[in-house]
Protein backbone atom coordinates (compact mmCIF):
# COMPACT_ATOMS: atom_id res chain seq x y z
CA UNK A 1 0.00 0.00 0.00
CA UNK A 2 2.69 2.47 1.03
CA UNK A 3 4.63 1.58 -2.14
CA UNK A 4 1.70 2.58 -4.31
CA UNK A 5 1.23 5.90 -2.48
CA UNK A 6 4.91 6.80 -2.78
CA UNK A 7 5.02 5.84 -6.48
CA UNK A 8 1.94 7.98 -7.20
CA UNK A 9 3.48 10.90 -5.31
CA UNK A 10 6.78 10.62 -7.17
CA UNK A 11 4.94 10.38 -10.50
CA UNK A 12 2.92 13.51 -9.75
CA UNK A 13 6.11 15.44 -8.96
CA UNK A 14 7.71 14.06 -12.15
CA UNK A 15 4.78 15.21 -14.31
CA UNK A 16 4.86 18.70 -12.76
CA UNK A 17 8.60 18.89 -13.39
CA UNK A 18 8.09 17.77 -16.99
CA UNK A 19 5.64 20.63 -17.54
CA UNK A 20 8.17 23.05 -16.03
CA UNK A 21 10.93 21.67 -18.23
CA UNK A 22 8.85 22.17 -21.37
CA UNK A 23 7.13 25.47 -20.69
CA UNK A 24 9.54 27.54 -18.59
CA UNK A 25 11.15 30.56 -20.25
CA UNK A 26 14.44 30.28 -18.37
CA UNK A 27 16.72 27.59 -19.81
CA UNK A 28 18.59 26.92 -16.55
CA UNK A 29 15.36 26.18 -14.69
CA UNK A 30 14.35 23.74 -17.42
CA UNK A 31 17.66 21.88 -17.11
CA UNK A 32 17.34 21.62 -13.31
CA UNK A 33 13.77 20.35 -13.70
CA UNK A 34 14.94 17.60 -16.06
CA UNK A 35 17.57 16.67 -13.48
CA UNK A 36 14.85 16.25 -10.86
CA UNK A 37 12.85 14.07 -13.29
CA UNK A 38 15.68 11.59 -13.63
CA UNK A 39 16.35 11.74 -9.88
CA UNK A 40 12.83 10.50 -9.20
CA UNK A 41 12.95 8.08 -12.10
CA UNK A 42 15.88 6.36 -10.42
CA UNK A 43 13.93 6.12 -7.14
CA UNK A 44 11.14 4.42 -9.11
CA UNK A 45 13.67 2.02 -10.62
CA UNK A 46 14.54 0.99 -7.08
CA UNK A 47 10.87 0.22 -6.46
CA UNK A 48 11.02 -2.01 -9.54
CA UNK A 49 14.00 -3.88 -7.96
CA UNK A 50 16.67 -2.72 -10.42
CA UNK A 51 19.48 -1.12 -8.40
CA UNK A 52 22.03 -1.21 -11.25
CA UNK A 53 19.70 0.74 -13.55
CA UNK A 54 19.04 3.14 -10.68
CA UNK A 55 22.74 3.85 -10.18
CA UNK A 56 23.20 4.48 -13.91
CA UNK A 57 20.14 6.70 -14.13
CA UNK A 58 21.17 8.74 -11.08
CA UNK A 59 24.73 9.27 -12.23
CA UNK A 60 24.08 9.93 -15.92
CA UNK A 61 20.63 11.48 -15.94
CA UNK A 62 20.78 13.67 -12.92
CA UNK A 63 24.45 14.64 -12.65
CA UNK A 64 26.43 14.24 -15.86
CA UNK A 65 23.67 15.50 -18.18
CA UNK A 66 23.02 18.53 -15.96
CA UNK A 67 26.75 19.28 -15.69
CA UNK A 68 27.24 19.07 -19.46
CA UNK A 69 24.19 21.26 -20.08
CA UNK A 70 25.53 23.92 -17.73
CA UNK A 71 28.98 23.68 -19.29
CA UNK A 72 27.46 24.31 -22.72
CA UNK A 73 25.29 27.17 -21.40
CA UNK A 74 28.45 28.70 -19.98
CA UNK A 75 30.17 28.49 -23.39
CA UNK A 76 27.17 30.12 -25.08
CA UNK A 77 27.18 32.96 -22.56
CA UNK A 78 30.86 33.68 -23.20
CA UNK A 79 30.20 33.79 -26.95
CA UNK A 80 27.45 36.35 -26.35
CA UNK A 81 29.73 38.57 -24.31
CA UNK A 82 32.42 38.58 -27.00
CA UNK A 83 29.99 39.82 -29.64
CA UNK B 1 16.85 -6.60 20.86
CA UNK B 2 13.25 -5.68 20.36
CA UNK B 3 13.78 -2.40 22.25
CA UNK B 4 16.64 -1.48 19.93
CA UNK B 5 14.37 -1.95 16.91
CA UNK B 6 11.65 0.25 18.41
CA UNK B 7 14.25 2.89 19.30
CA UNK B 8 15.54 2.81 15.71
CA UNK B 9 12.03 3.29 14.36
CA UNK B 10 11.39 6.26 16.67
CA UNK B 11 14.70 7.88 15.68
CA UNK B 12 13.77 7.44 12.02
CA UNK B 13 10.41 9.10 12.66
CA UNK B 14 12.10 12.09 14.34
CA UNK B 15 14.51 12.37 11.40
CA UNK B 16 11.70 12.41 8.88
CA UNK B 17 10.00 15.14 10.92
CA UNK B 18 13.19 17.22 10.59
CA UNK B 19 13.12 16.68 6.82
CA UNK B 20 9.54 18.00 6.89
CA UNK B 21 10.69 21.05 8.90
CA UNK B 22 13.35 21.67 6.27
CA UNK B 23 10.67 21.70 3.59
CA UNK B 24 8.43 24.03 5.63
CA UNK B 25 11.38 26.34 6.28
CA UNK B 26 12.21 26.36 2.59
CA UNK B 27 8.63 27.40 1.90
CA UNK B 28 8.24 30.07 4.60
CA UNK B 29 11.56 31.93 4.77
CA UNK B 30 11.61 35.34 3.09
CA UNK B 31 14.92 35.38 1.19
CA UNK B 32 17.45 33.02 -0.31
CA UNK B 33 20.05 33.13 2.47
CA UNK B 34 17.54 32.17 5.16
CA UNK B 35 16.20 29.46 2.89
CA UNK B 36 19.67 27.98 2.52
CA UNK B 37 20.04 28.01 6.30
CA UNK B 38 16.74 26.28 6.96
CA UNK B 39 17.02 23.84 4.09
CA UNK B 40 20.52 22.51 4.47
CA UNK B 41 20.71 22.55 8.26
CA UNK B 42 17.47 20.74 9.00
CA UNK B 43 17.85 18.31 6.10
CA UNK B 44 21.36 17.37 7.28
CA UNK B 45 20.21 16.32 10.76
CA UNK B 46 17.01 14.85 9.37
CA UNK B 47 18.78 12.52 6.96
CA UNK B 48 21.42 11.63 9.58
CA UNK B 49 18.72 10.58 12.06
CA UNK B 50 16.78 8.69 9.40
CA UNK B 51 19.86 6.71 8.39
CA UNK B 52 20.87 6.10 12.00
CA UNK B 53 17.47 4.68 12.85
CA UNK B 54 17.68 2.19 9.98
CA UNK B 55 21.23 1.37 11.11
CA UNK B 56 19.98 0.56 14.62
CA UNK B 57 17.23 -1.63 13.19
CA UNK B 58 19.69 -3.59 11.00
CA UNK B 59 22.98 -3.64 12.97
CA UNK B 60 24.88 -5.40 10.16
CA UNK B 61 24.30 -2.41 7.82
CA UNK B 62 25.69 0.03 10.35
CA UNK B 63 29.19 0.42 8.80
CA UNK B 64 27.90 1.41 5.37
CA UNK B 65 25.41 3.79 6.93
CA UNK B 66 28.19 5.41 8.98
CA UNK B 67 30.14 5.95 5.74
CA UNK B 68 27.05 7.56 4.21
CA UNK B 69 26.62 9.83 7.24
CA UNK B 70 30.26 10.95 7.00
CA UNK B 71 29.77 11.81 3.31
CA UNK B 72 26.66 13.83 4.08
CA UNK B 73 28.25 15.72 6.98
CA UNK B 74 31.26 16.64 4.85
CA UNK B 75 29.49 17.52 1.61
CA UNK B 76 26.31 19.26 2.74
CA UNK B 77 27.85 22.36 4.42
CA UNK B 78 30.18 22.80 1.46
CA UNK B 79 27.30 22.83 -0.99
CA UNK B 80 25.33 25.28 1.14
CA UNK B 81 28.36 27.58 1.36
CA UNK B 82 28.89 27.40 -2.40
CA UNK B 83 25.23 28.21 -3.03
CA UNK B 84 25.32 31.20 -0.69
CA UNK B 85 28.41 32.50 -2.43
CA UNK B 86 26.81 32.00 -5.83
CA UNK B 87 23.69 33.86 -4.68
CA UNK B 88 25.78 36.78 -3.48
CA UNK B 89 27.88 37.06 -6.62
CA UNK B 90 24.88 36.57 -8.89
CA UNK B 91 23.59 39.80 -7.35
CA UNK B 92 20.60 38.48 -5.40
CA UNK B 93 19.85 40.92 -2.59
CA UNK B 94 18.82 39.82 0.91
CA UNK B 95 15.33 40.70 2.08
CA UNK B 96 14.53 44.07 3.62
CA UNK B 97 14.64 42.65 7.14
CA UNK B 98 18.42 42.27 6.84
CA UNK B 99 19.89 45.23 8.67
CA UNK B 100 23.65 44.74 8.37
CA UNK B 101 25.35 43.53 5.22
CA UNK B 102 29.08 43.71 5.83
CA UNK B 103 29.92 41.47 2.88
CA UNK B 104 28.32 43.85 0.42
CA UNK B 105 30.13 46.84 1.92
CA UNK B 106 33.47 45.08 1.69
CA UNK B 107 33.12 43.58 -1.76
CA UNK B 108 32.06 46.92 -3.20
CA UNK B 109 35.29 48.56 -2.00
CA UNK B 110 37.76 45.94 -3.21
CA UNK B 111 37.64 43.83 -6.36
CA UNK B 112 36.20 40.42 -5.58
CA UNK B 113 37.70 37.04 -6.34
CA UNK B 114 35.31 36.78 -9.25
CA UNK B 115 36.96 39.72 -10.99
CA UNK B 116 40.47 38.49 -10.32
CA UNK B 117 39.86 35.19 -12.01
CA UNK B 118 38.90 36.74 -15.36
Amino acid sequence: MIHVIIIILLSVVMIVMAFVAIHHKNLQVAVIASGIISLFASVIYIFLAAPDVAITEASIGSVITVSIFFYVLNKIRHEDIKK
Amino acid sequence: MEHLKIAGAIITLIGSLFVLFAAIGLLRMPDIYNRIQAGTKASTLGSILTLLGIGLYHPDWLLKIMLLIVFIVISNPVSSHVLGRAAHFAGILPSEKTHTNKLKEDTLETPTTKEEKK
Binding site: - | S16, G53, Y57, L68, V82
Partner: protein, 86 residues
Protein backbone atom coordinates in the same frame (compact mmCIF):
# COMPACT_ATOMS: atom_id res chain seq x y z
CA UNK C 1 4.98 -1.69 15.56
CA UNK C 2 8.33 -0.72 14.10
CA UNK C 3 7.07 -1.17 10.55
CA UNK C 4 4.14 1.16 11.21
CA UNK C 5 6.52 3.86 12.40
CA UNK C 6 8.70 3.37 9.30
CA UNK C 7 5.61 3.67 7.10
CA UNK C 8 4.65 6.95 8.78
CA UNK C 9 8.23 8.22 8.33
CA UNK C 10 8.07 7.38 4.63
CA UNK C 11 4.78 9.25 4.23
CA UNK C 12 6.26 12.31 5.97
CA UNK C 13 9.25 12.28 3.63
CA UNK C 14 6.86 12.06 0.68
CA UNK C 15 4.89 15.05 2.00
CA UNK C 16 8.10 17.06 2.27
CA UNK C 17 8.74 16.25 -1.42
CA UNK C 18 5.47 17.98 -2.29
CA UNK C 19 6.31 21.06 -0.21
CA UNK C 20 9.76 21.39 -1.78
CA UNK C 21 8.15 21.06 -5.21
CA UNK C 22 5.93 24.04 -4.38
CA UNK C 23 9.06 26.04 -3.51
CA UNK C 24 10.58 24.95 -6.83
CA UNK C 25 7.54 26.24 -8.71
CA UNK C 26 7.41 29.55 -6.76
CA UNK C 27 11.11 30.24 -6.41
CA UNK C 28 11.92 33.66 -7.81
CA UNK C 29 15.55 32.98 -8.73
CA UNK C 30 17.57 30.06 -10.05
CA UNK C 31 19.45 29.66 -6.75
CA UNK C 32 16.17 28.95 -4.91
CA UNK C 33 15.54 26.11 -7.31
CA UNK C 34 19.04 24.73 -6.83
CA UNK C 35 18.46 24.73 -3.06
CA UNK C 36 15.23 22.86 -3.70
CA UNK C 37 17.18 20.31 -5.80
CA UNK C 38 19.69 19.91 -2.97
CA UNK C 39 17.02 19.28 -0.34
CA UNK C 40 15.20 16.86 -2.68
CA UNK C 41 18.39 14.86 -3.20
CA UNK C 42 19.22 14.67 0.50
CA UNK C 43 15.70 13.62 1.43
CA UNK C 44 15.56 11.05 -1.36
CA UNK C 45 18.70 9.49 0.14
CA UNK C 46 16.61 8.97 3.27
CA UNK C 47 13.75 7.57 1.17
CA UNK C 48 16.04 5.07 -0.59
CA UNK C 49 17.43 3.79 2.71
CA UNK C 50 13.88 3.40 4.04
CA UNK C 51 13.08 1.44 0.88
CA UNK C 52 16.11 -0.74 1.50
CA UNK C 53 14.57 -1.57 4.85
CA UNK C 54 11.18 -2.44 3.32
CA UNK C 55 12.63 -4.57 0.52
CA UNK C 56 15.27 -5.97 2.94
CA UNK C 57 18.33 -5.85 0.65
CA UNK C 58 21.56 -4.07 1.49
CA UNK C 59 22.45 -3.32 -2.15
CA UNK C 60 20.08 -0.31 -2.15
CA UNK C 61 22.26 1.43 0.44
CA UNK C 62 25.01 1.48 -2.20
CA UNK C 63 22.71 3.39 -4.53
CA UNK C 64 22.29 6.08 -1.90
CA UNK C 65 26.07 6.30 -1.45
CA UNK C 66 26.36 7.02 -5.18
CA UNK C 67 23.64 9.67 -4.78
CA UNK C 68 25.43 11.36 -1.87
CA UNK C 69 28.68 11.69 -3.80
CA UNK C 70 27.30 12.66 -7.19
CA UNK C 71 24.61 15.16 -6.18
CA UNK C 72 27.29 17.20 -4.45
CA UNK C 73 29.22 17.48 -7.75
CA UNK C 74 26.08 18.55 -9.59
CA UNK C 75 25.30 21.33 -7.13
CA UNK C 76 28.89 22.59 -7.27
CA UNK C 77 28.86 22.73 -11.08
CA UNK C 78 25.60 24.71 -11.10
CA UNK C 79 26.88 27.11 -8.43
CA UNK C 80 30.10 27.66 -10.37
CA UNK C 81 28.03 28.48 -13.44
CA UNK C 82 25.93 31.01 -11.52
CA UNK C 83 29.07 32.57 -10.08
CA UNK C 84 30.45 32.95 -13.65
CA UNK C 85 33.67 31.10 -12.86
CA UNK C 86 33.14 27.69 -14.48
Amino acid sequence: MANTLFTIAMLIVGLSFLLVTVRFLLGPSVVDRVVALDVLTISSIGLIVLLAHFLDRVIYVDVSIVYAILSFIGVIVIAKYLERSL
